[in-house]
């Protein structure tokens, strides 16, 4: 109850956060890249990445997280929207309707035969917008006293 003489000791929570954040971010990237053929995609991946950032915000304070990740999240959301518009406009160069996507099988050096789809770029835009909007909402609520 009396907070003056008890220093808050978050050692267990912070140590576990350091390990768990990597698992969450790796899994969110997995969800993001597997979205074309299995459940997943930009929205879930973005929500999961921002949940990892929220876990960092819970374990440490806002200043520390801002030092680690010096992003302006509104700019991230804006760049996501820009990428979405550009993927739509890119189809106009090939004389096809707006937002027409295509894919191609390419032999990548380490991964073997992979189908590279331009829909991934649109998914990346969704991913960035979701991270930007979620983190902006949470940081705005967290900073109002």
């Amino acid at each position: 109850m009396n907070k003056k003489n008890i220093k808050v000791n978050d050692l267990i929570f912070q140590t576990v956060t350091k390990i768990v954040v990597f698992i969450i971010i790796l899994y969110s990237l997995h969800l993001f890249f597997s979205g074309h053929y299995t459940p997943g995609g930009g929205f879930v991946g973005g929500l999961m990445t921002s949940s990892a950032l929220v876990l960092l915000l819970l374990a440490y304070d806002v200043k520390t997280v801002k030092n680690i990740l010096p992003f302006n999240y509104i700019n991230i959301a804006a760049s996501g929207l820009l990428i979405a518009v550009l993927t739509g406009l890119g189809s106009l160069f090939f004389k096809v309707p707006f937002l027409t996507h295509s894919f191609k099988y390419v032999d990548l050096p380490l991964l073997g035969e992979t189908s590279l789809a331009t829909a991934v770029l649109f998914d990346l835009a969704v991913y960035l917008v979701v991270i930007g909007v979620t983190m902006t909402i949470i940081q705005t609520i967290g900073e109002t006293e």
């Binding site: 109850m1 003489n5 008890i6 929570f13 576990v16 768990v20 698992i23 899994y27």
Partner: protein
């Protein structure tokens, strides 16, 4: 071979379900938040891990696929569930929830009031 693996999978899933049931009974029957937390965080962790191991072995033995996401989930629950129990328990203690009336010892209270140094000398 496939019959034995079915028995193993069934045993693991049944064990997990029974452990989760025991955790639920403990949450209802035990007297104060700390003992309830003790039942919930331990039993439910092992129960869910047993169920997930059963699911992993089912897909490995019968369908022949290694689902690494289940292994990751087992690791994740094993790391996070006890820490969640610890944090809930500590938050309850710091907000002044009393212990069960028949509890005999409360060392953390003495440590908070600064009496623990005197205790070590006598």
């Amino acid at each position: 071979m496939i019959e034995i693996s079915k028995f193993i999978v069934g045993y693991l899933i049944l064990q997990g379900a029974i452990l989760s049931l025991i955790a639920a009974i403990g949450v209802i029957k035990l007297p104060d938040p700390y003992t309830r937390n003790h039942a919930a965080s331990k039993n439910a962790t092992l129960g869910i891990m047993s169920i997930l191991i059963g699911v992993f072995l089912y897909f490995y033995f019968i369908h022949g696929e290694v689902n690494s996401r289940i292994l990751l989930a087992i690791l994740f629950i094993f790391i996070t569930a006890p820490v969640a129990g610890h944090l809930i328990s500590r938050a309850a203690y710091n907000s002044g929830v009393p212990l069960w009336k028949n509890s005999v010892q409360d060392d953390l209270k003495e440590a908070k009031e600064g009496k623990i140094e005197n205790r070590s000398t006598d």
